[in-house]
Symmetry: C2
Subunit: 142 residues, 2 copies
């Protein structure tokens, strides 16, 4: 079992956020990786508030560009992501979340969003759904 999440101090949290260069929309791309399998699960976007909430609560919170609001991953679908580590890249314009994924990351019911690639000379779907998308409340923001 994963250890309970211990939030960083307010000082450390502020220092990490200060290392992030949010773009002119106030957003930064966030790559999310399964901490156990190392599979890349998805890419979403975060604003300053989403990063702060994620670090404070230990649950991944993004910013939905389509809804223009915080997107607490799994709030409706139950497919939450427990934060293990949040890393910032060398020039501060991307973050990497390592998480324990409860259930599946993708709204299609697949564990990862990256399931389209070339196989045997044609574009193919390389992952099967592990959950019924209809039960995940539909929509990207599941």
């Amino acid at each position: 079992m994963a250890a309970p999440y211990t939030p960083p101090s307010e000082t450390a949290r502020a220092a990490l956020i200060a290392a992030i260069r949010f773009d002119d929309r106030g957003l930064v791309p966030a790559i999310t990786q399964d901490a156990a399998t190392r599979e890349v699960l998805m890419l979403a976007w975060m604003n300053r508030e989403a990063v702060a909430e994620t670090l404070t609560t230990g649950r991944a919170c993004y910013f939905s560009r389509s809804r223009g609001a915080l997107w607490r991953k799994g709030e409706r679908s139950g497919q939450t992501q427990a934060l293990v580590d949040l890393r910032v890249d060398c020039d501060g314009d991307t973050v990497l979340l390592l998480v324990h994924q409860h259930g599946v990351a993708c709204h299609t019911g697949r564990r990862s969003c990256f399931f389209t690639a070339i196989r045997d000379g044609a574009v193919a779907t390389i992952l099967a759904p592990q959950a019924d998308p209809a039960t995940l409340y539909g929509g990207r923001d599941a």
Copy 2:
């Protein structure tokens, strides 16, 4: 040793590129992951031409937003990336490259760009350089 790269047919290549939704600048974020260690190495951007060249040559080619030109990874530094797989996400707005990284991915000489995180209550550098940045010709586009 990795198998020699076999490029997809022009038809398959075009079909995969057709699944990508480039943004209003003609770009898509590209996550690059080490195919062997599964470490996330970097995030860069690609335009249509960069995706096509990467699939054709089997060597990662990005689009440098700062230079406004194709960025053939490792052209100057020798730190090339041999393509293993190029995957597109569920809504077509991100790609994932699995690569064999020759040397290090980051211009700081670290194997990954994601080396800043909170440790022991403070922001810390969690990866040591494995190569001398001065020998990598400096600059992000090494």
